[in-house]
Symmetry: C2
Subunit: 426 residues, 2 copies
């Protein structure tokens, strides 16, 4: 890769997610050369992907050009690249566009969907971790409704209008709520000749509650909200397979559906060279110490979802969410400079700012450290926080306009099949 | 197709473009059953496609769900369908989702890119007639810049940064202007390690002026604007071939480029069954009389781009633009009702509201009937008119926000490679 060597030490960051961008910003005006690699030319605001899938937001408003983040930073280079391997012996990353030497390496590659080895589910289900995936899901949902109109086979129509979401975490809950609102607000208007009662939304959850990481109150209230919206919640049920038609579970329960959305788990997006059992631990994440250092290296780090860092309060590792990623990125920025200057490193401490999830219009749950609340006010807080963390003034404005419009009009206008999914995946 | 027969006569409309939607609105509260067929579930506001291609707008803001247009209309049916054939003997259309009988048929299928039989150009060039095409072009432009960074071969880098637009009509001119602004405003910031002087934009035009349909003043001024922006205009040059690398012309001139944008012509999107020389005339359009009737039929009509209608002022047929399409749609709505009620039909008269094109920031040309003007004020008029004709309050708001943002910040934030083009078309 033709990036000039300068007298500054070179920091290579793999991934422009929350962690990578937070780190880059910290290093923006320092005496280091930074090379950021990502397989996309944009940062994705993952918490709002479900709104893209359900036609509430345009994909471009939750993406932000990485080059624009870096544009005023001297000594910064971005390359659109897939990192294929890390050569720790030679301090080199291998990518599809060539090799690159590093002095310091930061792995911020995030996470990917975890199918727990089930290739049938991987093949037939929909995921929602990236913008193209979310657009595929949007297309599929709308294509299903169109196809439901055409068939005279009631079983087929049922299957087309049946949505099974596996996983009761924030993604599953937020998607279920949005689908329920489409059923209530959009379907009867757009498809007057379709019996919208057929549209069923199921959330299947292997544990005994939804939103497991949150408080019992939040979990219960979210369940109440979803049930009020007509969502069916199945607890203590583990999905065992899906062949594109029938979902089987470890109980007697089965579902006939054309759409299985797999939100049951993620795992670290590890990279060859650092993916052996020496480095990988629980959740397929890279084990790091309190300085984000990968075991055995002083100059190789992992932050964000891909990093497994234990703390006093999180003995199972910090949650795979935006907040730990951002805080680790910022902290590592300081520590890298300390390391370069020969100063001692500071151990990471996680400031838990709480968690939140939205279920639908006027319905959200918020857990702050000292205050847990649910309902309308929680919903406003949820919106405010998400707007605040969205990168870019234009994105904020456009998302805000869409939200106000959707709220006032009970609408979601981005119900567009721009690239049909079924045609490409028959 | 399972659409119930009622006592109302059935009007089948093929196409939800400007013409089809204008007609549907006219028939919204009448005693007819309307079935609208389109291969997309959205209406596309084609005049702004070039802004999607150049990262100025999000695709979703220039698309509008057809079902939402029709939602308050009784007796309206929409089906997502490709019409494959028209059976005029049996009054039936054949589609990929089944057959449908009609009492009245309106062909409003628009136009497609005309390659004039050159399959090499068709294969290797980019078109900009649909939203997916525009997104492909957006991806390609950005991928080219990314690739230009990687190569050390100067010829290759030149080709990657060389953009050849064939056709000096509104599409070609507006795209050239937008690319020139990207070269000036975005490239130096996003790609500081790329010599942006290499980025060349060419408009190749076989005739002796650009914006042929407009006034000589508008044409000259548009040329001045483009030249001021650094665009190279080649007149009296006809592109003869493109093999993916070299553009050849009927002169000594050749271009080495990775991107040829073909905006040199469109032709009627005719449909089997009405595509013989009995019906098709100049521009591969369906010959219609002053009532939009297809020759030989009293109950089959064609409107918009696909229809070739001669008028006193337009002996070569009305231009393939939004205005004739909208006016024909509205007029046909009245005439259909006249026909059903046994009243005499009214001949179409075209109210020429003029034409306009934008070249860039503060630069547009407007030809009204009695007043022709260019520059800043023309640019405001252009924006106002386009906002006004855009369907949907949300779309207008979002486009407006984007324009204000882009204007104030000299920016285009939707420079996102959501679905890489080169990877899919190696």
């Amino acid at each position: 890769m033709n990036i000039p060597r300068t007298s500054y030490p070179r920091v290579v960051i793999i991934g422009g997610g929350f962690a990578g961008i937070a780190l880059a910003k910290k290093l923006s005006k320092q005496e280091v050369q930074v090379v950021l690699l990502d397989k996309n030319n944009y940062h994705t605001f993952q918490p709002l992907l479900y709104q893209v899938s359900t036609g509430g937001l345009e994909p471009d408003s939750i993406a932000y050009p990485i080059r624009k983040v870096l544009k005023d930073f001297p000594n910064f280079y971005f390359r659109l690249a897939n990192v294929e391997e890390i050569d720790t012996a030679k301090n080199k990353v291998k990518t599809n566009i060539g090799n690159l030497k590093f002095d310091y390496l930061v792995i911020a590659s995030g996470s990917v969907t975890n199918y727990f080895g089930n290739s049938d589910i991987e093949k037939h289900s929909m995921a929602m971790k990236t913008i193209p995936q979310s657009l595929n899901l949007r297309s599929l949902i709308l294509e299903n409704f169109e196809d439901a109109l055409l068939t005279s086979d009631l079983n087929e129509r049922n299957a087309l209008m049946n949505f099974v979401i596996v996983g009761g975490g924030p993604t599953g809950v937020e998607l279920a709520g949005a689908l329920a609102e489409i059923k209530k607000g959009i379907l009867p208007k757009d498809y007057p000749d379709l019996d919208t009662r057929l549209a069923q939304i199921h959330v299947v959850q292997s544990g005994d509650c939804i939103l497991k990481g949150m408080s019992a109150k939040a979990s219960q209230k979210a369940e109440d909200f979803l049930e009020k919206l007509g969502v069916n919640i199945w607890k203590h049920v583990r999905v065992t397979n899906y062949d594109g038609k029938t979902v089987t579970t470890d109980t007697d329960l089965t579902f006939e559906t054309a759409t299985l959305i797999w939100a049951a788990g993620v795992k670290g997006a590890t990279i060859k060279g650092l993916d052996s059992s020496d480095f990988i631990t629980r959740g397929h994440r890279i084990d790091v110490n309190a300085f984000s250092q990968v075991k055995g290296f002083h100059h190789i780090f992992a932050i964000g979802d891909v990093a497994y860092m234990q703390t006093k309060d999180f003995s199972d590792g910090l949650p795979m969410m935006a907040q730990p990623a951002i805080q680790q990125g910022e902290q590592l920025g300081d520590n890298l400079l300390n390391l370069i200057e020969g100063k001692p490193l500071k151990a990471f401490t996680y400031k838990d700012k709480g968690a939140m999830a939205t279920i639908g219009r006027n319905k959200a749950v918020v857990d702050l450290k000292k205050w847990k609340f649910q309902g309308v006010f929680a919903w406003y807080v949820w919106m405010f926080v998400h707007l605040f963390f969205l990168i870019g003034f234009r994105n904020r404005m456009v998302v805000f306009i869409n939200w106000v419009y959707n709220y006032v009009r009970f609408d979601r206008e981005a119900r567009l099949i721009i690239r049909p999914f079924k045609k490409r995946h028959p």
